[in-house]
Symmetry: C3
Subunit: 363 residues, 3 copies
């Protein structure tokens, strides 16, 4: 299901690069035969058609250039020169950061789609009188925005979003359908929040009631909020709980994939990225520029410094002050082989004792 | 809270089997005393009442037949003959596939419930003019269906579903309340999509911006879609992300439990089943007829062949070309015992060295 | 984003304690200089301002009392006497259970917020004629309540909730926005259900169809329901599936954090608490007063007795009859060190054999 612009809406290659290159990257267009192409879409080297642009960022895929039928390909200059086969049948765009240029091109095509969406507040949206909407805000059908909430200029809310009392969303944010913000949640500018994300649900706090022998729990109402910086993305069905007394805090530029759980009082530093299904337990502090692999879990009340990288599936159960990569996933094997080895895991301390005994005999 | 039909709506045993047996299974009814019973519901051997039918598929539960008060029980012929106690007080249905017959009977009772639901498009549903609805489509309250979307004949959408622009749902699908389809998502016939499922959210793609020393990420807009075959079930709060450039693909007959995460560009082969809480990272290809146990994680950019079976809790971090069962979960133990053994895990390489040293002394 | 009452709505310290102490705890107020303060909010020792109350429950934080600027602090009597620095600049509340008193104070402030919410049934809510609403029930915008459903007195439903046919919610419950109850789900009194929670989706049940060589699955319709006791909390995006034939059962006082998956036919005993991201597979029975750490998984068809405590990240794959703490998480380490040790894990059975061989040589 490729997204192709109608031919009369497609820019020329030169127009596309000029408009998409919002980062000001250096690039050079190497002309192929014929007139400058109009570019209707963006595809991979193997799939892009003759109206599309493609890119090569991984040099190991250079062999795919031979069968590429794209109108144009973005390439690093060095890769370009080392390859045979020229003149290419496509227009080459030489660029030192082809992957970043790809990201910009993809954004351009996606923006084109978003610009086509209806703007305005749908008549079925229920917006409290005291809520404030900036200029050019779009609110989809069946959204509910409670008293005192604020939505910054240019932000768009998909159908069925809920923004609780006194919550604030910055400018140019995109909330897809069915996003839930409880009361007292603040989000900075240019956030992208995906469907099913829940921001500001109660942290998990209960006090045992020592007078009861039944084991009953007394709820600790969660009075803090959630405070999220700018340029943050929150994936589908990810949950970020509100703090017990102060705010759970997510820094600028943080990227959270789907189905992540951020517990109450957690603080995550700028530009940290987490893959899907990660859980971060309560009150843990994670530094800047960390990457957390998918399905990892970080225990509560820990401090992870800046530039810590956790491999997927790893359980972090202690503070990490030193930058580096940390791993703890158990290697899998064919089942019967695993059974033999797994049984020994529960005897390791005994094995070490037996080894020591042998060593003593030798000395 | 058993589901019992009103007595005047209940079929006779013969009618029930004739109607429910859509698979054409062979079966034989062995008469008990009295008139042929009317069957108002379906229950387990221990709980089914005198108006209900039950089944025995696990031979180890045969002892429960003695105290069974069901009107009728489905049994395999062999089991039936090997047991004492006859004549049974219930009507026996001899069938070579009692578990499959149970599935068909359960479907019959569930269909009876679904047939009782209202049909039609609720007046509060917001449906774009260019959207196409097939014959007999039901759309619940507060659904939103965007431009260019298509819903096939006989499909039902529960309350609050969202179907994005140009998405397509086949015939006879069932979307429970609060299902979210982004734009450009296609689903085949007879799908069952559970509440909170999100299909088509952005894949997790970001390019580092090498010009920035801050560690900032640039979003890679996700231009692909999601393409899902027929006879697929997607569990509650499961997420399937859209592809970066092409579609994320789910084959025919795939069954996904709740809270599963399928990342962008993944491809899953026909009839593969995944238990709850599984994560599949980006661009991984999984073959046909695989089973993936609960809470497993599959790393990105891998290829798993057909008929691969992954045990629950296992992290798959390498290609699997050979059919078979693979496991990697760490065995648990009582906490203090675990502490002793876990400490040794971090010394295993050293232990092996010490063992080698001893072996050299002996030789 | 602290929650502070307006000065004219703030109670005096004496009024606050009298009203908040619904548990009848013993406490004693030790007067400081000046008039009895009015209390506008509740904060931590380091952040509470001069209009707020704070508490000390962890004796290791006693040093923070020196710089505390709260109007009043709740303290255990013993801690109070062992500390220098008196007279304190704040009013001391001596109480034997300072953490429980904190929970009660937090509830009081949260109740104050909830009391400020609008009461009543929003005109956009769609409620079936045969549904029954108790006195003082609030139903938010765009809720849908189907035929035969019952909502007990004093319960509140946030925007966009769905209550399926014949489901029942007890009295004084709080459903936040976007909670989904399928048909045939019952919930006791005083439940708190968070956004995105899905109760009653189909359990994951499929029968292989032995007549088909394709590997196709036949759905086993799930005819049971979900039965939840009183005083239960269900976290955001948590899913509890309906039973195959009987009800999935959650006892009284059970507390479930976010993104937990409870599969069909599971039974969980009273006052058991589970941290986020836990998965419990089908038909497992868990006892009373258990605690299950975050991201743990419990296999299917197991029985865990009362007072079992599972550490975070642990896979429980066998019955647990004895109370105690069980752990199985693989210890992480720096990546290259992990690589060395992980390789040996797959050789453990061989290592043990080699050790045995050496031991035989010595004897």
């Amino acid at each position: 299901m490729p997204v192709l612009l109608a031919p009369d809406q497609a820019p020329t290659l030169h127009e596309l690069l000029r408009d998409a290159n919002t980062a000001g990257l250096d690039y050079q267009i190497v002309q192929a035969e014929g007139p400058a192409p109009r570019i209707r879409g963006l595809g991979s080297l193997l799939r892009a058609g003759p109206d599309e642009i493609s890119f090569l960022s991984n040099p190991r895929l250079a062999g795919q250039l031979d069968s590429c039928s794209a109108a144009s390909v973005v390439l690093a200059p060095g890769v370009c020169e080392s390859l045979p086969g020229r003149p290419w049948p496509f227009w080459v765009v030489q660029c030192g950061q082809p992957y970043l240029m790809y990201a910009l091109l993809a954004q351009w095509f996606d923006q084109h789609r978003i610009k086509g969406l209806e703007v305005g507040v749908h008549s079925s949206a229920i917006i409290a009188d005291s809520a404030q909407l900036g200029a050019g805000v779009s609110v989809g059908p069946y959204c509910v925005i409670e008293a005192g909430a604020r939505i910054g200029a240019g932000s768009r809310l998909g159908p069925g979003c809920f923004v609780g009392a006194n919550s604030a969303i910055g400018g140019d944010c995109l909330l897809h359908a069915h996003v839930t913000l409880y009361h007292g949640v603040s989000v900075g500018d240019r956030a992208v929040l995906h469907s099913g994300a829940v921001l500001g649900a109660d942290g998990f706090g209960f006090a045992p009631d020592p007078r009861q022998s039944t084991g009953a729990w007394t709820k600790i109402a969660q009075l803090g909020g959630v405070s999220i910086g700018s340029d943050v993305e929150v994936g589908a069905n990810t949950t970020i709980d509100r703090g017990a007394l102060e705010d759970t805090q997510i820094g600028n530029g943080v990227k959270l994939d789907n189905q992540i759980m951020v517990a109450h009082n957690v603080r995550i530093g700028d530009h940290t990225a987490m893959a899907a299904c990660v859980g971060v337990a309560g009150s843990t502090v994670i530094g800047k520029r960390c990457t957390i692999g998918g399905a990892s879990m970080i225990s509560g009340h820990l401090v992870l410094g800046d530039d810590v990288h956790v491999s997927g599936g790893t359980a972090i159960t202690a503070n990490l002050g030193v930058p580096g990569r940390y791993t703890g996933v158990y290697p899998f094997s064919e089942h019967t082989q695993w059974q033999r080895n797994a049984a020994v895991v529960a005897q390791l301390a005994q094995l070490r004792r037996r080894l020591r005994a042998l060593e003593r005999l030798e000395n």
